[in-house]
Symmetry: C2
Subunit: 219 residues, 2 copies
């Protein structure tokens, strides 16, 4: 069996499976449909926001019958969105942790931006983040906002830890990790508006410079 690690780049499962026989052995069909719906919801949240995420589109993008949504998510749209946000949070967190381990802090900043850009390939006007969409659904849906806050925190955690490992003080490490997440989220909005990934790339460069300064002042 071959495992393909996707690093959360394209709304597929973190661990893809290359042979259908293996997939069926491990993932029952029922579960596949659920996964596809979650990935469809992530994609639509990022592109259209919570208000614009229509269940018929989730079913279409997820290649699943519309009736299966309430089968897998009895709580309907809000449950689907909360779980999609949590899934996005966990997948991006894993990607950050792996990148930090394998490639270090500076490369991880670039990976963080790249991960979102890769999903929409040649369509920067569709750039977005499902977690930001969940955040913006407040104040109507506090459960969704809570899922977003948990996801953001799970991205900051490993970045702050890596900074502490480099000798950065606890407060400065937490502040910089927060800066990274806020900056990437803001840059995604600006890149989308500009229909150009340039603001995202600039934000990464700005963060890399700020990281250099922080580490220089630490050593």
């Amino acid at each position: 069996m071959t495992l393909v690690i996707h690093l959360g780049g394209d709304y597929t499962m973190s661990v893809g499976i290359t042979r259908i026989a293996d997939a069926e052995a491990i993932e029952p069909k029922r579960r596949d449909g659920r996964e596809r719906l979650l990935n469809g919801a992530r994609k639509l949240l990022a592109e259209k926001g919570y208000a614009g995420m229509e269940l018929r589109d989730v079913a279409e993008v997820g290649d699943a019958p519309r009736g299966s949504i309430y089968h897998h998510f009895p709580g309907g749209k809000i449950q689907l969105a909360v779980e999609a946000t949590a899934r996005e949070g966990a997948e991006v967190q894993t990607a950050i942790e792996r990148s930090l381990e394998e490639r270090g802090l500076a490369a991880t900043l670039a990976m963080f931006g790249e991960m979102f850009a890769r999903r929409v390939k040649d369509h920067p006007e569709r750039l977005g983040c499902p977690v930001a969409a969940a955040a913006l659904a407040r104040p109507e849906d506090p459960a969704l906002a809570a899922a977003a806050t948990a996801a953001f925190a799970s991205w900051e955690g490993p970045i702050a830890a890596a900074l502490r490992d480099e000798g950065v003080g606890e407060q400065d490490a937490a502040a910089f990790a927060g800066l990274v997440v806020s900056t990437i989220e803001g840059a995604l909005i600006r890149a989308r508006a500009a229909a150009d990934r340039a603001p995202l790339d600039s934000a990464v460069i700005g963060l890399e410079r700020a990281l250099d300064s922080l580490l220089a002042s630490t050593s």
Copy 2:
């Protein structure tokens, strides 16, 4: 006549007028209604996004008859949103320019965050930015996204100019100005999700530290 400068803090006109007699002399009633609708649209865009901005709510928040919307904005919702975005852009730009002139760069970073926080007072779960909402309306409404991009650029411009005045090189000044705008926009999303302005305050502190480092490496 007394002029009250609001610095864009509460979706009122930049220049408020304290006596009704003065107001009537300067601003015909027709114009007042248009202004109130624009301010209502800004508030609703920030709180609910473009999809969630309903015209009946704009009329209510703007204390204007609903029928007056098409009188003032024949293009309807999209025209109202584009003009509201442009108004927000101009007002924040003016606030940034004044703050830079009167109080300098570091204080302006704090003012930039404070301006959004002040509008929602004790309701951080309503934090938002009408320009971000316009940006997120892409790809359906490129006119709205273009207004957002112009607004973001108009905020970066004076910040980059102030940095160049401090001796920062052109590229670094532009990159830092972009970082400021992206970071504040991302922090607004996170503060809203958390129903707590703390992420916004942290972002400002992170930017202030990055500014210190940038200026230290310049001098």
